[in-house]
């Protein structure tokens, strides 16, 4: 799984550089997110602009990270979620779990 990392204010941004998240690479994603949390990051932003497709295991990976970071009173925020991917968050009502913003700047303005 191709991931890139950037630090913006208090946030650690994880940019997913893949068109597709499925059971083949969702394990890597989960591991990378959990690793960031274990390193002490409490404010994660996952940047999904490249992601055209996500399956249930991909949602599961994000949810696992959310649960871990939430237990430590941190935050996991999603940005740039494409319409068809967003529809899957809506269908599973995971829109009620994750903070979802259109743009990275919206997060920085809001929380900054």
């Amino acid at each position: 799984m191709k991931l890139r990392y950037e630090t913006k204010q208090e946030y650690e941004v994880i940019i997913i550089d893949e068109e597709r998240i499925d059971a083949h690479n969702s394990g890597d994603l989960k591991e990378a997110l959990l690793h960031k949390i274990e390193q002490g990051n409490t404010q994660l932003i996952v940047h999904l602009a490249q992601v055209r497709f996500i399956d249930s295991s991909g949602l599961g990976a994000l949810l696992a990270a959310y649960k871990k970071i939430n237990a430590g009173h941190g935050k996991l925020i999603l940005v740039h979620v494409q319409a068809q991917v967003l529809a899957m968050f809506e269908l599973t009502r995971l829109t009620q779990v994750f903070d979802i913003y259109a743009e990275l700047d919206d997060v920085l303005a809001h929380h900054g």
């Binding site: 597709r20 499925d22 059971a23 083949h24 497709f53 399956d55 249930s56 295991s57 949602l59 599961g60 990976a61 949810l63 696992a64 649960k67 068809q84 899957m88 269908l91 599973t92 009502r93 995971l94 779990v97």
Partner: protein, 141 residues
């Protein structure tokens, strides 16, 4: 049984790296479904997803992880219906025993069959001594 129009029959090893091939074939098939009156871009996504979920389950629950172990995915397009059959050689399961999603208490697993049921019109799982078949269908009008 309707009139068969075309079919795609794929056999892959039980390896998740082949999921994207299966998903992409599903997307491409959606483009050819001219009798479908709904949103074809959405249908392409849905078939990609449903094929990915069903195949991932067959891979996950395969009996062995021998490189010779395979999953067969048969996609049949009839005039008014699309039928997907995924054949697995695992221990099988009972669809009736699959818990519905608990929206109030989301879990990391158990969403695959939920998506399949939501996007498609019927789902059936049949076990035989030789092979198990997940059969999914969607009306095309």
């Amino acid at each position: 049984m309707g009139i068969p129009v075309f079919q795609v029959d794929v056999i892959i090893p039980t390896q998740t790296r082949y999921l994207r091939l299966i998903g992409h074939i599903g997307e491409r098939i959606a483009n050819e479904l001219d009798t479908y009156t709904g949103d074809k871009v959405q249908l392409a996504y849905d078939l990609n997803l449903v094929l990915t979920e069903a195949t991932a389950n067959a891979i996950k629950h395969a009996k062995t992880d021998s490189p010779k172990e395979t999953v067969r995915i048969l996609i049949q397009i009839e005039e008014n219906e699309l039928i997907i059959k995924v054949f697995d050689h695992g221990q099988g399961f009972d669809l009736k025993n699959v818990e519905p999603l608990d929206f109030a208490n989301p879990q990391e697993t158990g969403m695959g069959l939920f998506f399949i049921k939501t996007y498609m019109d019927s789902v059936r799982y049949t076990m035989t001594p030789e092979v198990n078949i997940l059969e999914i269908s969607k009306k095309l009008q």
